[in-house]
């Protein structure tokens, strides 16, 4: 017995000594003193040097999107570093094209702040914040889709472009001991900046959707961050085709609100696909949009209309409906939101009908 304890003590003390050495080393060696980060030539941040840029910016409440959490494996956290980052590291080159390297783009998780540096980040990322909110309403849209409204508390308002998404924080709950963030498009009016609506479809065994459907109640506090994404209306006045399925409805509701606010009368045909009429939702809201927006038309498409019910609208796949109604799309723009399968099929149909690929905009939700 004594031998056990002595052994454990000895090994622990050796480990503790080595750990202490590292802690001391971190304190005295990896201390680069105060550094200054100049953001977009105007804002200055005073921080302690020695940490990766991604972490430093997160501590300063500037959230750079990153999927791997700073391990240098996803290549998402790209940031323009104008000055003070040193040469591009071998751990970054696999993720940066030649043009990006020439343009001073770096992976912010690999760049350490050792001295004063100057960076450039898109204005939108400045708007990215962590929001504390309260669930203010849950509305059933179909048998497997709900619209959740969140009232923002801290900060109390959000500035976003219609089409962008937020990352919803899903805490641990009974049945899941993981904390996750999941991305959902904002489905509310960008002018109503004190709240965020999300349309969520139940995913069987999904960590976050199960929490939203089975555990989240009105009045519960909810955290999210955002807005992210560059899915949005283009600046042109070309006629547009929207295609969505399921919860892909969300960004288009927001975009239509935005068009209503700005009295935008661009021609839009919105194809919304479902398996049966039970999958369709928000008809009355779409009717309102049709009345107030001159160029807008909503086309629900049902793949399998049940026998006996008289479904008079379009049938088949959304892509088939598009092919029936359009023969030439070379002057159109396409906007897609839905499952990867639906998006790939739609892109094929669009390009076959002559739509240039750079005029097709989409958000893929895997």
């Amino acid at each position: 017995m004594a031998a056990f304890i002595v052994t454990i003590l000895i090994i622990s003390s050796i480990s503790a000594a080595l750990a202490a050495l590292l802690v001391l080393c971190e304190k005295y060696v990896v201390n680069y003193g105060p550094c200054k980060i100049t953001v977009n030539g105007e804002k200055e941040l005073n921080i302690q040097g020695g940490k990766p840029l991604l972490t430093v910016l997160r501590d300063e409440k500037i959230f750079i999107p990153s999927a791997c959490g700073g391990r240098g494996t996803c290549g998402v956290c790209k940031v323009k570093v104008l000055d003070g980052a040193g040469p591009v590291l071998a751990t970054e080159t696999p993720f940066l094209t030649k043009e990006e390297q020439a343009d001073n783009v770096r992976l912010s998780c690999q760049v350490k702040v050792r001295n004063d540096i100057a960076i450039e980040i898109p204005d939108e990322l400045f708007n990215v914040r962590q929001y504390e909110s309260v669930c203010a309403g849950i509305e059933e849209l179909t048998y497997d889709m709900k619209r959740f409204s969140f009232e923002l508390k801290n900060p109390p308002s959000i500035k976003f472009v219609a089409g962008q998404y937020v990352q919803l924080f899903c805490p641990k709950y009974k049945g899941s001991n993981e904390e996750v963030y999941r991305a959902y498009s904002i489905a509310s009016d960008p002018n109503a900046n004190n709240r965020v609506d999300l349309i969520i479809r139940r995913v069987p065994n999904g960590i976050c959707t199960t929490w939203c459907f089975d555990h989240l109640k009105e009045g519960d506090p909810v955290k999210m961050n955002g807005p992210y994404g560059d899915f949005r209306l283009s600046q042109s006045d070309a006629p547009m085709i929207f295609i969505a399925g399921g919860s892909g409805m969300a960004p288009f509701v927001s975009i239509l609100h935005y068009m209503q606010n700005t009295h935008n009368n661009r021609k839009v045909k919105y194809f919304f696909g479902g398996n049966t009429p039970k999958d369709l939702c928000l008809d009355s809201q779409m009717k309102e949009f049709e009345e107030s927006l001159e160029g807008f038309e909503f086309v629900p498409v049902v793949a399998n209309p049940p026998e006996g019910e008289n479904w008079t609208g379009e049938t088949g796949l959304v892509t088939e409906a598009v092919q029936r109604q359009f023969k030439d799309l070379s002057g159109h723009e396409g906007y897609l939101c839905g499952s990867p399968g639906m998006i790939d099929a739609s892109i094929k149909v669009f390009t076959a009908l002559g739509m240039p690929e750079e005029k097709i905009y989409y958000d893929k939700f895997a």
């Binding site: 052994t7 000895i10 050796i14 590292l22 040193g86 071998a90």
Partner: protein, 199 residues
């Protein structure tokens, strides 16, 4: 005096053996993970190889000291796995911090690879072989250095071959790790040719 002379000679022979006849990568296939994933470019492979030479030399020496002066007196030899891993991890962390601070140039070329090899099994393997084969201190230096150089040569050769492969048509199913493992096997066969050089 004569004794030390023969020790040094033995260390040199062990070093040579570790590089060629007993190459840690090609005979025991240790450290395959970075070997397959970081061997796409000669430049990065050389950086990683350099880091391995450095870490292997110093950790085998440190571990020899820890084994001889801590584990044997305390009769805790069976704990060598854990202690060796802890020492390797701490040493790598320490070195990374120091060169990051004092030599940014060296950090660019070598330091960024250090975290990748903390958990490289070849590094631990070298320390364990050194115990199993009961090397003396001086021989351990030669062995650690030689093993590192052997690994370095192997990954450098592999990176050179893979750069050439970029221009040839590899069957789709074999691209990447598949063809790399086949090449590693052929290289191992080639290294067998060195057996018998030392007798």
């Amino acid at each position: 005096m004569n004794n030390i002379g023969s020790e040094v000679w033995l260390a040199m022979v062990t070093c040579f053996a570790a590089v060629f006849t007993n190459n840690i990568l090609l005979t025991t296939f240790l450290g395959m993970c970075p070997f397959t994933s970081v061997s796409r470019e000669v430049k990065t492979a050389a950086g990683l190889g350099g880091a391995v030479v450095f870490v292997m030399t110093f950790t085998t020496v440190l571990n020899w000291l820890a084994y001889k002066y801590v584990l044997i007196p305390l009769e805790l030899e069976f704990f060598r796995f854990i202690l060796f891993i802890i020492i390797i991890a701490a040493f790598v962390q320490f070195v990374e911090m120091v060169i990051d601070r004092y030599s940014p140039k060296l950090y660019q070329s070598l330091g960024i690879f250090l975290p990748l090899i903390t958990v490289n099994c070849a590094i631990l393997g070298a320390s364990l072989f050194m115990v199993i084969r009961q090397y003396s201190f001086i021989v351990t230096i030669g062995y650690g250095f030689g093993s590192g150089v052997g690994w370095f040569l192997a990954i450098l050769a592999m990176a050179g071959i893979r750069q050439r492969l970029n221009e040839s048509r590899v069957p789709e199913g074999l691209r990447g790790p598949g063809i790399t493992l086949i090449i590693a096997g052929l290289m191992a066969l080639a290294f067998i040719g060195f057996t018998g050089v030392l007798n």
